[in-house]
Symmetry: C2
DNA sequence: GACGATATCCCCGGTTTCGGGGGGCCACCC
DNA sequence: GGGTGGCCCCCCGAAACCGGGGATATCGTC
């Protein structure tokens, strides 16, 4: 009698990483990688097509980020088991991914055996959050969230723009920009323009775009 | 008659990535991974012990960064063939790694066949720099370099500190800090505190420390 | 309909930064 | 011994930012 294998979808934008994960999983007799994807949109497509029992998802993806992909997949199938497997990039990622419905959160330097174990666990409906991840989640939950507008302002701030430029781009007055910035000083408990940018980057609230320089 | 295999040292802090690389290389009949390392210091140790024909090196490593490890290895053996295999993190990395003596620079999403080919090339003394990497090198070479002092100031600036704090920490006057900052405005062609931080991060000149939050 | 959260705009006094300018010291190289 | 470059210090007016305060409107929720 043949037990059906656990079908895994592997999403990561780096070929070599996918390669490593696949070689690892296919070593196990009771699981197999049925599809891979290198960006968020493809991940959703592949999910719809293959309906894998478990999805392994990186968060930093081109075209559609991991969190958005998780949301799309869970919208498609609300009980989809998704494991986030990513580098640590700040607390915010963890919070967002869990909000979006991730069933587990692992860092990329996890030992192979743990990954295998987690796949089995989430496949049967379980969740796995290591203690350090849980600690971040609890911490984060106790902190005030930024409003959408504040987030927009923060984004532009982190892009190096100054009050006037932000005001122009958002079509609001400079005073309003200031008001949002001041509100964030309180929420993030920092003082100063550069400090807020540093803190936001450290927490992973915003990112800088590191693309190969436009030539 | 047996041709000796190309001996490879694989350095990366993520187990899964090493795993992928190894499974790839060991598939080739004429090469084999003889050692791995997950941080810079271990990389140097392993190099001394095994004297591999080719070293695959990530740049973001704990304990000793990749560039420093490259320097240490080349100091040990000036003709050591080292391939940098990393995610793109800003132009500065490329420049520094090449300065340190890297024989090739590949991005982590390179196709496996390319990696294999590059290993063979550098093993016979060759160099491989893809056109986009070359372009960055040329561009960077034409730009003014920051002085050590400026770099220090930039680091503190990116940590969110303001003029006074930087002055205190560096034991210089606030005016001098300003002078350095102004000099960098010119060199980096930006205006404003937040802009200089954004630009420095984008280029990879400085980094923010993203460690799991100290609890 | 009252309430809370969000978003907008405003005022104001004090501090910091910006962007010019200036000069002096030292070490290294030609 | 005269450059050159890094580093340090200073001045000043204009602009930006800081950190309080308050006012109004909207939009949900309860």
């Amino acid at each position: 009698m043949v037990t059906p294998k656990i079908q895994v979808l592997c999403v990561d934008d780096h070929r070599l990483v996918r390669r490593g994960i696949i070689s690892l999983i296919d070593l196990e007799p009771d699981m197999t990688v049925v599809a891979e994807a290198s960006d968020g949109e493809e991940a959703v497509r592949q999910f719809k097509q293959h309906r894998p029992g478990v999805t392994l998802m990186d968060l930093e993806l081109p075209r559609m980020n991991g969190v958005a992909a998780i949301r799309a997949i869970r919208h498609e199938q609300p009980d989809a088991a998704i494991i986030v497997l990513t580098m640590y990039q700040g607390d915010e990622d963890i919070y967002r991914a869990v909000q979006a419905g991730a069933a587990a959160y692992l860092l990329k330097d996890a030992v192979p055996e743990v990954l295998i174990g987690v796949i089995r666990t989430v496949h049967t409906g379980g969740q796995v959050f290591p203690p350090e991840i849980l600690a971040v989640m609890k911490q984060r939950a106790s902190e005030p969230a930024l409003t959408p507008r504040e987030h927009q302002v923060l984004e532009l701030l982190a892009a190096g723009k100054r009050t006037k430029e932000i005001a122009a781009q958002l079509r609001i007055s400079g005073e309003t920009v200031d008001a949002h910035v001041k509100s964030m000083y309180f929420k993030l408990k920092v003082h100063g323009r550069t400090a807020i940018v540093a803190e936001a980057l450290r927490r992973g609230i915003v990112r800088i775009d590191t693309n190969l320089r436009r030539l």
